[in-house]
């Protein structure tokens, strides 16, 4: 096991990693920007190092600053968390060249899975269904038109290097395909420095189902069941749960087995997530692999009882998985609400600033992962997440009740939050019946509809 781990992240996930390290008896080095200097979670680290000013580019995204901190603190491993440098293959390579363990997959795996076209090819090679599409990049308008005719409309135009909905267009007929093709190309070029696009059949109002994978360096790969993240607002996940109310045991077995196949094909190590779209017809399609821990990982921790961050540390240090697929038991139902500091009355703009009073919910079945407290000032530099509120109860209906109770208890005075929206969704008869998809939020609460794309983005 590692002796001293540097945490190249901030906020709740930095705190989460510190917790895992402490429970494993591993020392921690927390790096921070001047904007985070007063955060209480830093007290829990064995050492803290200021690596730069508030803007991410000069602190949490600065590879030289983080590597230098790891060197002066004598850390033997780096946990990148999610976001920031977590899926940056160059960072993973620098770690390797500096003889610091990167807690995640190998740089080559990150690179391969980061290229959406290559990832699609990989899934196809593993025998896993993918959304019918162009089988590679589409170079010009003529080819795009041809492919679209073959697949049938609606069609999705996507950037190979894309993410976050950028470089993405939906076309419902030929004229909009031509316009969308050029728009997506130039947007992708501007955003990612790579204008390569490809086409896919557009699946209307699908479910977002993702499967948690865990793999050691000895060829052992297990899945930890699925998460249903269909409740999204503009590709931003709002509510995640496990198990998915829309999978039969037989479908679950198939989709989870598909995820393991993809991971095996990619020589995947460490924790990762394989994302799928599930159509109303019961067909599912591979979308992509998130080669890192995800925001919503605690949902899986609750139903499996397995500490995913501890497992990341264990397998990264070379240990074998201590359990096989058959040892993993799934218990009860877990739901997560991401509580963000956003103003629902102002189109969900971030609402940073001081939290005057913070009284978190608690009691039976409730878990909270949050770095906030009364008097904490949410810096404007980073994302607006206040915390992740989770519940674990024997059944889905009971979990929903506990979540509503916990949301009602949560006192956050100061910033506006997403809590009212989440209360509404959890109270909605369709959600309660498990009859919802990625278009749910826009359909019922979206005054400003965005592209209804079924992509749980970024995290």
């Amino acid at each position: 096991m590692f002796r001293r781990v540097l945490i190249a992240n901030r906020g709740e996930i930095a705190q989460r990693i510190i917790r895992a390290c402490r429970e494993l008896g591993v020392e921690t080095v927390a790096v921070y920007s001047t904007a985070d200097a007063d955060a209480v979670y830093l007290r829990q680290a064995d050492e803290t190092i200021c690596i730069g000013p508030g803007p991410s580019a000069k602190s949490y995204l600065s590879i030289p600053a983080i590597i230098a901190a790891a060197e002066v603190a004598d850390a033997d491993a780096i946990h990148p968390g999610y976001g920031f440098l977590s899926e940056n293959e160059h960072f993973a390579e620098v770690c390797r060249s500096c003889k610091i363990s990167f807690i995640g997959p190998e740089p080559e795996t990150i690179a391969k899975l980061g290229d959406k076209v290559a990832a699609r090819e990989l899934a196809r090679a593993a025998g896993v269904p993918i959304v019918p599409g162009s089988d590679g990049p589409v170079e010009d308008e003529a080819k795009a038109t041809l492919v679209a005719q073959k697949l049938g409309y609606p069609i999705m135009i996507k950037a190979a290097a894309g993410g976050g909905g950028r470089g993405m267009r939906i076309a419902r007929n030929e004229p909009s395909l031509v316009t969308g093709f050029h728009a997506a190309r130039s947007e992708a070029q501007a955003a990612f420095g790579d204008g390569t696009v490809y086409l896919e059949k557009f699946v209307e109002n699908p479910r977002h189902i993702e499967v948690q994978i865990l793999a050691d360096k000895h060829g052992n790969i297990v899945h930890l069941g699925e998460r249903d993240c269909s409740i999204q607002r503009r590709h931003q996940k709002l509510i995640e749960e496990s198990p998915s109310p829309s999978l039969t045991p037989e479908m679950r077995a198939r989709i989870c087995e598909s995820a393991v196949k993809v991971a095996r094909q990619a020589n995947y190590t460490n924790a990762g997530t394989v994302e799928f779209l599930l159509g109303r017809d019961g067909n599912y399609y591979f979308i992509e692999v998130n080669a890192r821990i995800q925001v919503e990982h605690p949902v899986t921790e609750l139903v499996t009882g397995i500490d995913l961050i501890q497992q990341q540390l264990l397998v990264a240090s070379g240990e074998k998985l201590a359990f096989e697929q058959k040892d993993i038991q799934f218990r009860g139902h877990a739901i997560e609400c991401r509580i963000n500091a956003e103003d629902p009355d102002k189109d969900f703009q971030p609402s940073p600033g001081k939290i005057d009073l913070f009284v978190p919910p608690g009691g039976p079945g409730v878990r909270l992962d949050s770095h906030c407290y009364s008097g904490y000032r949410i810096p404007p530099n980073y994302d607006s997440m206040i915390g992740k509120l989770l519940v674990h109860r024997p059944r889905r209906d009971l979990a929903i009740r506990t979540m509503l109770r916990a949301l009602d208890e949560f006192v956050i005075e100061g910033p506006k939050t997403t809590i009212p929206l989440q209360r509404n969704v959890l109270s909605h008869p369709d959600f309660r019946a498990g009859d919802h998809d990625t278009g749910f939020v826009e359909r019922y609460y979206g005054h400003h509809p965005a592209i209804p794309v079924a992509r749980g983005e970024a995290r």
């Binding site: 008896g25 200021c50 230098a68």
Partner: protein, 163 residues
């Protein structure tokens, strides 16, 4: 109260295997006493007592490394004198601080050295690169706040420079 200083002391003690430490700084009136718990287990935590300006003992809750945020106090090669006044020159990066260009070379800057904007005052090593740090101001060095070879973080005061 300078929590960062105490954090540093605890980290030093931990690495050096020191069980007890008493520090008294006549310049600031700060008295620090740190006693680490016996067994070096996973949850051994230091017991810290801080007396500031002759006040009563204020035990800090065990098990925490104190919060960062404030700049470290002047505890260094050349102890700060009460009358010293100058502008802190802060580190522009994380790395290892070197006062000279080599083991036997003269320090770039000591107390009394006059510096100009282009004067190299120290080297900070990061990722095997030796970064020469310029003073970016004119004045006289009145204090050197960091030991040669010591790690420094972003924003940490390295010198006091009197314009």
């Amino acid at each position: 109260m300078d929590l960062k200083l105490i954090q540093r002391l605890i980290a030093m003690m931990k690495r050096a295997g020191v069980a007890e430490l008493d520090v008294e700084d006549p310049a600031t009136g700060l008295k620090v006493r740190v006693v680490r718990e016996g067994a070096p287990g996973t949850s051994s935590a230091p017991v810290v007592h801080v007396l500031q300006g002759g006040g009563g003992p204020a035990p800090v809750h065990g098990g925490y490394a104190p919060a960062p945020g404030s700049a470290p106090a002047p505890v260094a090669a050349e102890p700060a004198k009460p009358a010293q006044q100058g502008t802190p020159f802060q580190s522009p990066m994380v790395g290892t601080f070197y006062r000279a260009g080599g083991p036997d070379a003269e320090p770039f800057a000591s107390v009394g050295t006059r510096v100009g904007p282009e004067t190299t005052v120290c080297i900070i090593e990061a990722m095997k690169v030796m970064n020469e740090i310029k003073a970016e101001t004119s004045g006289e060095v009145v204090a050197v706040l960091v030991e040669n070879g010591e790690p420094v973080e972003f924003g940490q005061p390295l010198f006091l420079i009197k314009p």
